[in-house]
Structure formats: C-alpha cells, structure tokens
Symmetry: C2
Subunit: 352 residues, 2 copies
C-alpha cells in the first residue's frame, strides 16, 4: 500500500505476473476473489516500414482478445467471492489499472524475428484504466471526485512509466463507442508506453522545439473558439480541426504533463474534461463516439511540450459517421465538411 | 474527339463548366441526354495545422453530397433520353471521368479566409472515374479489356493533371465498401490532384531519394510474399504490412507512373490488378472493403519514385473489421494482429 497526499494506491501482482493497481480516495483493503485464467504469452515485435519510415507493431496473440462479452461476463467488472472471474478480482474498487492481457508493447517482449527489413522487440507497456466499478457510464458521468482521481491516476502512471529506460513516450487514451471498434463497454481507457516517439507525435515535438506553438495559437484565437473551461483549463475547437467537432483541452499554464499540476489545476482540468464530454453527448443527444488522446511531453521534451488532450469525434451529423478513407489514409490529408467556427458555436451553445 | 494509339477520348463540357471525358476502345458518338442540375459553388480552402505541420482541407459544400441513393437514381449510371438525369448524360459509355461535383480541391478555389493560422486556396482537382456503365461490379469483375483501358485512363489523367502548374501530386484511388463509408455503389474510383506533396507521401519521397527502396525490398524478400503476378507486374504482402492482408502491386521494371508503361506492361499490370481483387473477394467469400491507393511520382521525382499500388483492406477476419483507433490515429503507429507471412500464404492459396 502506497499513499500520496491525495490518493491511496494498492499494488497487486496477478498470478500470471501482470500488475494491478487499485487507486482510491480511500485505502483499498478488500480480499482477493476470483482471478481469470492466465493470458496467452505475449510475443509482440516491431518491423520497420521502409516507405513510411515508421515502426509497425505485430502482436498475433491479440487475435484471441475478448470481443463484446455479455455484461454478466465483463472482465472489467468487480468480482464477488465465488462469482464469474475477471481482471479485477475484488468486490469493489474506485479506479483500477492493470497490465493489458493482450499487449502490443511488453517489457518482456522477446527478440524479434530476423527478416529482410529491420526488426526490434516491442518493448514497452500497455495498461488498461478502469474508471469505475459500474459497468455503464462515461468520463462525463463520473462524480467530480472520481474524475479528479482519474487525472491523478494518469499523473501517477506517467511518473511510473516514464521512469523506465525503455520508454520514450507515454500515451493515455480512450476509444469510445462501438462505431469505432470498442469491444468492452465498461468505461475504461488505455495507456501505451512506447519505446520510440511515434510518427504522429514527432511533428509536435518539432513544432514545440520551434516555439510555444500551442499557447501562441491560443493567444491568437482568444476565446472565440472556446467550448468549455475555467480558471485553470480551457477547451476549444482548433481552427485547424481535422475531425468534425474536434476539441483540444489544455491547462492554461504551461505543463509538460498532469504530473506537474497543482491541486487546483488538477481539479480544474478534471472539471473541464467532464464538461467537454457532457457537451459532446448533448450535441446529438447520443453518446459521441470519439478517440480521446493525451499528449504529454516525450522524455527529454519536458521544458517545451505543452500537455493537452485532443478529442477526435467520429460523428459528422447525428446519424452520419466520419470515415477515414482514401484521402485521409492514402494521402494523410484530412477533408473536413464543417467549419471549426460553426462547430465551436454549436458545442458552446448546446443545452447541458 | 482525341484518339490515342489504344483508346479514344471524347471531351464534353457540362453546363456548370465541369469537364467530362468519355474513354473507350470505340469512339463515343452518342447524343447528350439528361443532365443533373448544376452543383453548388465550390469554395474549398486549406488551413495549416501548426502541431502536425500539415494542411487540412475544408469544403463545407460537401455536406450536401449524395448519400446512398437508390439504384434507380444513381448519378453514375448512363442516362437514357427522357430518363432520370445523371452526371454522365449519355445512354452508354465505357469509362467516364468527370470533375467531382463536391471537390475538396478545385482549380477555381477562391481566396482562403484570413485566420489566426496560415491559410491558402485549395487549388487542385478532384475527378470521379466510372469504370463501367453497369451499376454493379468491381475492378475484379471487369472484362480484361476494360481493366486494361482503366490503366490507360489513369495514365492519361496523370499526364493531364500533372501538366498543371498548381499540381504537385496526383493520386487515383478507390474507396470500396459501405463498411468504410462508400455512399455510391456504382463501381468507381476517384482522382485527387494536390497542390502539395501530402503528408503520407513525403516520407516515400524521402525514402526513394535515399535509394531504390521498393525494388531493393522486392529483391530481398524474393517471391516468398507473392500473391499474384506475371512477367510485368507482381503483387505481394509487404513484410511491414500495416493492414490485415495489405498488398502492394508494382511493375517489375522501374516506372514513375503508368504513363511510361509499354503496351505489354499496361496489360500485365491490369491483369495483376484484377487478380489481386479476385483473391481479396475469395479470401472471405465476400467483397473485401478496401482502400486502393495509386502512388506515382510527385512532380520532379520521376527519376526515383517507383510507381505502385497499396491496398488497405479493412477485414481482419470474415466478420471483423479493422478499426483505426487510439494507437493508429493518436500515435500514428499501426497494430497488426496477423503476420504478413501468414496472410501472403492465405491469399496465394485461396481458390479462385
């Protein structure tokens, strides 16, 4: 048991060697109940793509991963004594984090196969972050204290994972909605710890090395694109949005990641996060399918890289999905039907 | 009417100023029938994304675009005299190409709005390529002569579009399948002529400047990854595939684009193209949803950039789609469940 100023953390080692962390405002002292059987051996590896100049991750053991189980067999639900086993073998919890059963990156990744292209072991870490013991819900519906705890959990995971020599970049994220392939409905996110700075992040690193590009952008646009916020954090539709109703959420002051937030900034960021999700769900009167990506400083970029969240929502109207097709995937250039100025106004004016 | 050695081309100006080209092995001399009413005015513009260092294309007029019309109102079908109007106002045709009614890039794009980020007019061209007058079918099911004509049409469009000063890169592609958002089922592809080298192509340009990376890769892997081919063209699963059963199709000899193919190479490439699509459709016994992207040399790279097609299929099993979620979209790193070696064997051994 480890206790910070504002949360308690209990570390539990699962029988197959994966770690489980139980975070809470209260100490977690419940007894172990029923464990899932051990997962398959993880043998991910990386291959170099010579035309794109990037690593591709291969994890064939992921083919066995859990696919939309019925609610009574949810592996993320708390497990009562004698009940159906799950990944979190305790009768209750606040927030639980555990090493992914089907990781694309793994600290014990074996040597990569020899191939006609460069390969390397997929060293790193993949974790699952379960926001609540309740099977239904969302970041927007969590109690305020729980969302604040979630920001503290992210900060703690950043600290832990960035301490590993093999890790270059840590990315918490949430895939939300069956429309974009989510197979477990229990509210949860994930964290990937990469052994390299991935291709979508490298241009951000280059931009922040040129100057404080995010705060400069924010100064230039003023509050015209704002959709949510408070004294410590602000959310806006960027004027260069690539997705319909894309939103960025940033602390008003410079921070490389949530691990340098004050208590007031932690709460302010959590509040703004909840407001963004609430506005998304109100926009079309249905839960918005989105990717929520946390961009914190890669290792060594802590003096420059301004932490923020980017939301990529996949509805372009109440009924129509945004698809990433030939232009987006083939050319890498995004086509956007709606103007950011209009989307900002709609999100700002939606009735909560 | 213009006639090449191997095809005829008729140019027709639509009432709203958009050009329509009728390509055929036979001269096209049918009279005009019924035209659709003029499309909306196109006002696309580009905005600079300061964090990703790339242009984003905004085209709000695209919100009005045609969405899964019933077959009897298909705008790509030939139009009989007195019949329901369409984009191709002729009673029959072999292959038709016309300027997109809802273009993301347009030669007459107006000045871009002034914003707190850099902007520019979205100069360029977007065309639609209709493979056949039949409402159903696919590249794989076309008669051999038609597929050969399609390769000649691509070559002709490359020549025409690359001749414009404003164009830096031309990309024919096909989005196939409702699963990836296709809204018109009539077999067709598209061509985008970009005023810049787009982000997914820039690393390829850099790679080819370093050396003949594609033919080197091909030499190193030999025929172990082959799935289709003949004396002039070969198709293989690249050992760095990012999509399940991804296939690359290339001419065996160096060519910057299909416009330098000999007649024999044109036919060989067309044959291999048909074989790849036939194998995809046989793999799971259903039409494979995919993106098919033609990568030819951007302007100025004709001595180095080896023309090829990349297919990005979206089925990872017969029933399950590959989704591009947090890791792919947020980090730009692809996670692959299946090994390229296994996928190559399956595609090679499938019963045609």
């Amino acid at each position: 048991m480890q206790s910070g100023a504002d949360f308690h953390k209990r570390t539990y080692m699962k029988p197959d060697g994966r770690k489980l962390y139980l975070y809470g405002r209260q100490p977690h002292e419940l007894p172990v109940t029923e464990e899932l059987e051990p997962g398959p051996v993880s043998t991910p590896h990386l291959r170099w793509h010579p035309l794109r100049g990037e690593w591709v991750a291969y994890a064939s053991h992921r083919q066995e991963r859990t696919f939309k189980p019925p609610a009574e067999f949810c592996p993320l639900c708390p497990v009562q004594p004698g009940g159906f086993p799950g990944e979190i073998p305790f009768a209750d919890f606040e927030i639980a984090v555990f090493e992914n059963r089907f990781p694309a990156f793994h600290p014990g990744a074996p040597e990569a196969p020899e191939l006609p292209i460069p390969t390397r072991p997929a060293k790193g870490q993949c974790e699952v972050v379960v926001y609540s013991s309740a099977h239904r819900g969302s970041v927007g519906e969590l109690p305020r204290e729980r969302r604040e705890l979630l920001v503290r959990v992210w900060a703690d995971r950043y600290r832990d994972l960035l301490a590993h020599d093999m890790v270059a970049f840590v990315m918490p994220f949430e895939n939300r909605g069956e429309e974009i392939g989510v197979t477990l409905h229990h509210p949860h996110g994930q964290i990937y710890a990469f052994p390299f700075v991935p291709p979508a992040v490298a241009p951000m690193v280059a931009a922040f090395r040129e100057g404080p590009v995010l705060s400069t952008l924010r100064e230039r646009i003023g509050d015209a694109y704002d959709v949510a916020g408070n004294a410590h954090a602000v959310a806006f539709v960027p004027p260069c949005a690539r997705f319909p109703s894309e939103v960025w959420l940033m602390p008003r002051a410079f921070h490389p990641g949530p691990w340098t937030f004050s208590d007031a900034e932690t709460l302010g960021f959590a509040d703004a996060l909840g407001e963004v999700v609430a506005r998304y769900d109100a926009l079309y009167g249905r839960p918005m399918p989105y990717l929520c990506i946390l961009y914190a400083a890669p290792k060594g970029e802590e003096d420059r890289f301004h932490f923020h969240i980017q939301f990529f929502p996949f509805l372009r109207t109440a009924e129509r999905l945004k698809y990433l097709a030939g232009c987006e995937q083939g050319a890498g250039t995004f086509l956007v039907d709606g103007l950011p100025e209009q989307m900002a106004a709609r999100l700002r004016e939606v009735t909560l």
